[in-house]
Symmetry: C2
Subunit: 344 residues, 2 copies
């Protein structure tokens, strides 16, 4: 049992234990073995293991102007979409010797702002952000400081920033065309407010354009709901139900949070899916396979998106220079039980 006096061992302690200079230890740490005699190397190795020494990232960072920290601000950590991306990003991140600082803005610009400040103070080497859309000045500030930024999913106007996300136009039109071909007479689009969030905006726009292109009457069946207010969701839902009474109808939700709330309300109303109303939703939460024997979903390659965002930012950190890029992934339509074919 080693008796330990001071809790954190430093490079100096190791040097003393090994009977060499700090410089030699540093060389060892940097893997520059060609600058070390075998004897010295062995001594250092021994000392490091004996003392359980680990170099301080902080001290290293101070010297090298790198923190080995990558910040990621997500809008909603409760969303399975988010956690899947996090896993992808994290895997790549730690494989490359970086650490992730995960921050959850809860879709709140004020919280988001606070995290910006913190991350800036920690001198993160890069930022991946699923932005609330409310802090463009902060993004600009970070850009000014030459910190690479990758936008996840949601774009921001007027700023040249790399973006990784879904091809919302392809995804939405694919789904809408499918629904039209299934002979639905009324197709509603339910989304959270789209004003500041590009993803929602693009999906809505594509929804309308596709229907217009098909000469379908539903391009006006667009509803914006506040998911934190079930009454609001309820009244919008009821409006669509009344308005489409007797028709073959379906609801397309812009994400799984909206989907969940709607299902909750439909069950309260004792409406059955797909008999009274068909359903399809963006995202592909685990539970979508067990509700209604399987809900038709528009699945994003979430893990892959996380991987791509992290790979992109690591490239930027390594000094890769090029104009801002946008990577848009294709969605996959999972046809399940909630969108049956309607006989005319």
């Amino acid at each position: 049992m080693v008796k330990r006096e001071n809790s954190k061992v430093t490079i100096y302690d190791v040097a003393r234990e090994a009977g060499v200079s700090k410089t030699s230890v540093s060389r060892y740490l940097g893997g520059r073995y060609d600058e070390l005699s075998d004897k010295t190397r062995k001594k250092i190795e021994l000392a490091i293991n004996k003392m359980e020494y680990r170099p301080s990232t902080m001290a290293r960072g101070l010297k090298s102007n790198k923190s080995y920290l990558i910040g990621i601000i997500v809008a909603d950590i409760n969303n399975p979409y988010t956690t899947a991306i996090l896993r992808g990003a994290e895997d790549i991140c730690s494989q490359n010797g970086y650490n992730l600082m995960i921050c959850n803005s809860d879709n709140n610009p004020v919280k988001e702002r606070g995290y910006f400040e913190m991350l800036l103070s920690h001198r993160i080497d890069g930022l991946i952000i699923h932005t609330t859309g409310g802090n463009h000045d902060m993004l600009k500030q970070m850009q000014d400081q030459k910190t690479p930024i990758i936008l996840l999913d949601r774009k921001v106007p007027d700023l040249e920033i790399d973006t990784v996300g879904l091809d919302n136009f392809q995804a939405t039109s694919q789904a809408v065309n499918y629904l039209v071909n299934q002979n639905y007479e009324r197709i509603a689009f339910f989304s959270e407010p789209a004003s500041k969030v590009s993803t929602r905006y693009e999906r809505r726009l594509s929804f309308q354009q596709t229907l217009l292109g098909q000469g379908h009457p539903s391009s006006k069946d667009v509803y914006e709901v506040n998911v934190d207010d079930l009454n609001d969701v309820d009244s919008k839902l009821q409006h669509f139900l009344d308005d489409s009474e007797g028709k073959a109808r379906v609801i397309l939700t812009a994400n799984s949070v909206v989907l969940l709330k709607l299902i909750l309300l439909l069950q309260e109303k004792k409406l059955s899916v797909p008999k009274d109303l068909a359903m399809i939703g963006f995202d592909n939460p685990e539970w979508s396979t067990i509700v209604y024997s399987g809900i038709t979903t528009i699945e994003q390659p979430t893990y892959q998106i996380g991987v791509a965002a992290m790979e992109m930012i690591l490239r930027r950190i390594d000094g890769h220079e090029s104009p801002a890029q946008t990577m848009a992934y294709q969605a996959k339509l999972n046809i399940r039980q909630t969108t049956p074919y309607i006989q005319k």
Copy 2:
């Protein structure tokens, strides 16, 4: 538009801009206004704002031997249980000027070990861990370095460490008693392997003891499944189904992951819940309210657990000394549609 040459502003830049010394700026940052003349203070304030200066946590940390970083290693970031805890922990954390480093071990001891190394290198001020149970030596090492640790949910033997989690005995026996009173003749307990995970072990033990105490025949209906192998789950499920054929029966799952897999299989088998088989599960994922018109669950105060763990570790970081504590929260039984009363 300010032209910026060097990207990161330092305390020295601010001092020069304000025409004072670094020391004065440092005093300002530390809020020691009584050591500053009004005039100096104003000048510094101006310079800081103009230059968008933010002190470097790294440099500060190096000097003060604090990183303002708290590590949290979770076993499964996909689990809603985990994200709820994360939200609680994070709220308190950022309120106190700390930042969270979230690591996801994926229940893999090797990954967990890697994160230990990294967090140790970052000189985190504290660690909250939902441990895989495979790296006790690392926990000990961290303790030796005087880094406060809080165990989340899962205890480890032989080590004196604060623990925050659920009162698994109360929770399980409450549920089992409820099921016995609902007149179920066969009650099965489905869990992931319990050997290294105290939570699973305690729940299983309590399950068996409670049934034994009631003189109920099901204390042997205990199944351990590997959720990553659906065939394994299927064969265990089938075993119980065959064995309990014709009886009023119910399955209690030790977490929502197991619950989800079982439901998937039941649907494949075209079995209906609760008619053919009743269900109840630990955790209370959002989707439990919409599947089978509501699944009966044993809900943990997850957000509160996250809050408590973070508060506890902050107290330790602030130097609070006392023997290791255990905080066990009470569970709440949400009685819904999947566990109806059985007429004898």
